[in-house]
């Protein structure tokens, strides 16, 4: 044990290495351990578009950032305190982000000339003074790992594979973590002799840190004072999937997912395919069009129908979505946004699909749009999307993004009793007499959901304009105007279900307006700015269409409002058109989330 144990509030740690170095796994282990130690935390993995980009190159670097704290936190952190760099490429790709004075642990075994060349380093950064100002911890990770597993008779490649556990052991020592979670996990995951090898490497890393007195001190990050409850660390994809499964249960109907794999949305398909015991049907379709069409078919058939995709897939689904709009069938389209346009930056995050969500269909073809704010919020948003789709009989667009999908945070598990049942209000035989498929609930304007198989409710729907009430094809000019207005009106009726926005912080100073995954960075920045004495408020939108009823008034209350988003100003444009209010547009479009520091700078500009 180090003589010195310091207590710190928060730590940002980043593991970086080759795609094959197991960094995601290492990060996840550190996360789970810290979660069980009671820290609040937030994580963000960042991987290359290639499956295994050429080893040793910057393009092939895979990273995992983890923010753990004894306070409440909302982002994976701006700048790491500690960087573990498994090779020169990882160093090169990440050193720019490290906090001044931060620590970087490097694997000196991978700094041969060839390694440097692959990373396109002209000279060895460990030797040319370029790392001045950082605490550089040089460790012959590969050699030490190899030595630690020597007795197991692994070959070179096999023993080298264990070095991530050696590094993990070192960081566990550094932050006084309990190794048992990872040890148990290794035993369950690996077959002999690899289980033993990984266990040995882990322990060796710990021991090495302990005995070599590599570090000035080790650190304690005490448990956070979180709201009482049962917690689980969860990614946005998993929370979203659980939300959908819960929605199916609460609606007492089969959940149907039609999907075609696409980064970063595929995990929704992967997760839901494991819920067959809930009767969940997942259909991996031949393409995105078939996926949404099958979902609409399932909705017609009475399922809670979902289709999930990312940008290019959303573009393909537009035509079919229009059919769901005109046939007024419930459907949830999940868009896990990624960097665009076109194929763009598939593994990076962005919020640039708000335009297509609101306006991306031909004709007057409105649909509700809502967005999740944090990984665990995905659970609630999924429930809400289904609830609205079913209640108002229309397709709902749900936006998340790569950052939310892959990022994780502790989720305070909901009491099951607190989850309200979803009333599907399905048409029954009893109303067969005089049944008309487009008769409506006067309040919600929802039409009947009459499911094939129900006696006496036989009817036909389709994409040609329909006569209100009967649902028959109609070319009548007045009816078309009526129906166009009605479809728009249905969206407005949802406002009844959309709570008013509440301003966090000051209502009359600078107001930041945000939506989606920027919640954490904006809220953190607002807290920081207020701590510095600035007068700042924050409004975060879950609902984009319809907008909350009091939003205009709220924005007007601010001395100066700014709209922060990861695109070129799509929400800003939309709110401008709605309210004709002059607001600042705060944007970033680099495939990466906002840093709180960037936002604080913007707040200062507006103050």
């Amino acid at each position: 044990m180090a003589t010195n144990v310091e207590t710190v509030d928060s730590v940002v740690l980043r593991f970086a290495g080759d795609s094959g170095d197991g960094m995601q796994l290492t990060g996840t282990q550190f996360t789970n351990t810290s979660a069980l130690q009671g820290n609040d935390l937030s994580t963000f993995p960042d991987f290359p578009a290639e499956i295994r980009a050429p080893a040793g190159t910057v393009a092939g670097v895979s990273g995992f950032q983890l923010h753990f704290s004894s306070n409440e936190i909302r982002t994976p952190g701006d700048a790491p305190n500690v960087l573990v760099a498994m090779n020169p490429a990882a160093l090169k790709a990440n050193i720019g982000d490290l906090k001044t004075g931060g620590m970087v642990i490097v694997n000196t075994d991978k700094f041969s000339e060839r390694d440097l060349e692959k990373a396109e380093y002209e000279e060895n950064p460990l030797e040319n003074g370029s790392l001045e100002g950082f605490q550089v911890v040089e460790v012959a990770l590969s050699t030490l790992t190899k030595r630690s597993v020597e007795e197991l008779g692994l070959n070179n490649k096999e023993s080298d594979r264990c070095k991530n556990f050696f590094a993990l052991g070192m960081t566990y020592w550094l932050y006084n973590r309990d190794m048992s979670v990872t040890q148990t996990w290794i035993k369950g995951k690996f077959k002999a002799p690899y289980d033993q090898a990984n266990l040995k490497a882990l322990q060796a890393g710990w021991n090495f840190a302990d005995t070599m007195e590599l570090f000035h001190s080790s650190y304690e990050v005490p448990a956070a004072k979180l709201k009482p409850g049962t917690y689980k660390n969860i990614t946005g994809s998993m929370a979203l999937s659980l939300g959908l499964v819960a929605a199916g249960s609460l609606a007492k109907r089969q959940l149907f997912l039609g999907a075609y794999p696409i980064t970063p949305a595929s995990d929704v398909l992967h997760h839901l395919s494991k819920f067959k015991d809930f009767g969940v049907v997942t259909f991996q379709a031949e393409d995105e069009i078939a996926a949404i069409c099958a979902s609409i078919g399932a909705a017609f058939g009475g399922s809670i129908a979902i289709t999930s995709t990312s940008g290019p897939g959303v573009a393909l689904k537009g035509e079919a979505l229009g059919l769901a709009v005109i046939t007024e069938l419930p459907l949830v389209l999940i868009n896990v946004q990624r960097g665009g346009p076109s194929t763009g930056l598939p593994t990076k995050t962005e919020q640039s699909d708000l335009n297509i969500a609101l306006f991306g269909r031909h004709g007057e073809c409105p649909n509700p749009v809502l967005a999740a704010a944090t990984p665990s919020d995905c659970f609630e948003v999924a429930l809400e999307a289904v609830r609205i789709a079913v209640k108002y009989r229309m397709p709902v667009m749900l936006l998340t993004d790569g950052y939310l999908a892959n990022g994780a945070e502790p989720w305070c598990l909901p009491e099951l009793d607190s989850l309200k049942p979803i009333d599907c209000n399905i048409a029954t035989e009893d109303i067969a007499d005089g049944f008309r498929p487009y008769d409506r609930d006067p309040e919600t304007l929802a039409r009947h959901w009459a499911i094939p198989g129900t006696k006496g409710l036989e009817h036909r729907i389709g994409g040609l304009e329909k006569e209100d009430g009967t649902g028959n094809v109609s070319y009548d000019p007045g009816n078309h105007e009526h129906m166009s207005n009605l479809r728009a009106e249905k969206i407005q009726r949802i406002q009844a279900d959309v709570p008013d926005v509440e301003v966090y912080g000051d209502t009359d100073g600078v107001g930041l307006i945000s939506w989606g995954s920027t919640f954490g960075s904006v809220r953190t920045a607002v807290d920081a700015a207020r701590a510095e004495g600035m007068k700042v408020g924050h409004v975060h939108l879950r609902w984009l269409s319809p907008l909350p009823a009091n939003l205009e008034q709220t924005i007007n209350g601010f001395a100066k409002a700014g709209v922060a988003e990861l695109n070129l100003g799509q929400l800003h444009r939309y709110l401008s058109s709605e309210y004709l209010i002059d607001m600042a547009s705060i944007t970033k479009i680099q495939g990466q989330p906002f840093k709180s520091s960037e936002l604080i700078a913007e707040i200062k500009k507006l103050s």
């Binding site: 409850g229 015991d277 069009i289 069409c293 017609f300």
Partner: protein, 341 residues
């Protein structure tokens, strides 16, 4: 296909909807509609258990005229809608109506995928070798050289042979018939209804407005006997006028087809091919027969093969055997959790 829950008897007119039929007078679609209604009436399936799904095209107006559940969807995508509906509601008898353009042009991909998956629906393709609804452009089944509005010097695209495409996609049921061969048409529709899996039926359909007489060579009463062979499992491939001498089909060593003249139908002899609807190689041969060989009508290929929807249901059933299946508490509270008090 649906299980027959209660004894039901229907008349054809029970399946006629109140909507005015808007096809051109003389269109081949009328005859098909009539036969489908007739077959539905006889299937013993409760009316509310039928769903008719279509794409876009003249033919795809079909669901409006059927007094069942119906969905007139978007162009080319009907197989996907039908798949979703069948998975959501396996109890339904799902029928899909499509045109040659709808299913082989824009919808070609969904078409081959539903066939390989073998979703248990009936897929009736009205092949008029033209785009009707958009007023007469050539379609993927139009013959080369066809002059249409979009091909003033004649079309250049080699046409698909729909049954061959279906076989290439591993369809489990492939049949062909003609709008005006009423009895044969009805029989094939009935066979389609009886088959578990995707039953693909190509129906030659006359578009008297934009492609009148496209099938004259097979429909002309005078020559029909010479230009058509009706295939039936286990029976020799014999055709030719009932009055005159009959003809048979055989192949040589290298699978080249030959017409054998003067065959005795009672005793055709060993060399005449016997239709085996489970043989994919023979099916390919039959599907592609064109003059001077007769065009094959009837069930060209039919095999038993697991259905996709059946498999989905099976997996769910299996998954639901485990303890705590479908338990939300387990799903949410399971895994690595910790408690903060």
């Amino acid at each position: 296909m649906s299980t027959n829950e209660e004894a039901v008897t229907y008349k054809k007119k029970d399946f006629m909807s109140d909507q005015m039929i808007r096809w051109c007078p003389g269109c081949g679609d009328y005859s098909i509609l009539s036969q489908v209604q007739t077959v539905f009436a006889g299937l013993g399936i409760p009316k509310e258990k039928f769903a008719v799904i279509s794409g876009i095209g003249c033919s795809s107006r079909f669901p409006y005229y059927m007094n069942t559940y119906g969905f007139h969807t978007i162009h080319g995508r009907a197989p996907a809608f039908a798949t979703g509906l069948k998975l959501a509601n396996p109890d339904l008898s799902v029928w899909m109506i499509t045109g040659d353009g709808d299913s082989l042009s824009i919808g070609g991909n969904h078409f081959i995928h539903i066939l390989r998956r073998n979703v248990d629906i009936q897929l009736l393709m009205f092949n008029n070798r033209i785009y009707g609804l958009t007023k007469g452009q050539y379609s993927p089944t139009s013959e080369i050289g066809k002059k249409t509005k979009s091909t003033p010097m004649g079309s250049l695209d080699h046409p698909f042979e729909p049954c061959a495409v279906a076989l290439g996609a591993d369809a489990s049921f492939v049949a062909r018939t003609v709008d005006i061969f009423v009895k044969d048409l009805r029989g094939v529709i009935q066979d389609a209804a009886d088959h578990r899996g995707t039953s693909f039926v190509e129906i030659f359909q006359n578009c008297n407005i934009f492609n009148d007489g496209a099938f004259n060579d097979v429909t002309d009463r005078k020559t029909r006997d010479e230009t058509v062979v009706f295939v039936k499992h286990g029976e020799p491939l014999i055709f030719g006028s009932k009055d005159g001498p009959r003809k048979g089909l055989r192949v040589d060593k290298q699978f080249r087809l030959e017409v054998v003249e003067d065959v005795d139908p009672e005793n055709p002899g060993d060399e005449i091919l016997v239709h085996d609807e489970t043989n994919p190689v023979l099916a390919n041969l039959l599907a592609r027969m064109r003059p001077p060989y007769p065009v094959a009508m009837g069930v060209i290929f039919r095999v038993k093969r697991a259905t996709y929807d059946g498999g989905v249901a099976e997996q769910i059933k299996t998954a639901q055997q485990v303890p705590l299946a479908g338990d939300l508490t387990k799903a949410i509270y399971g895994g690595n959790t910790w408690v903060v008090d």
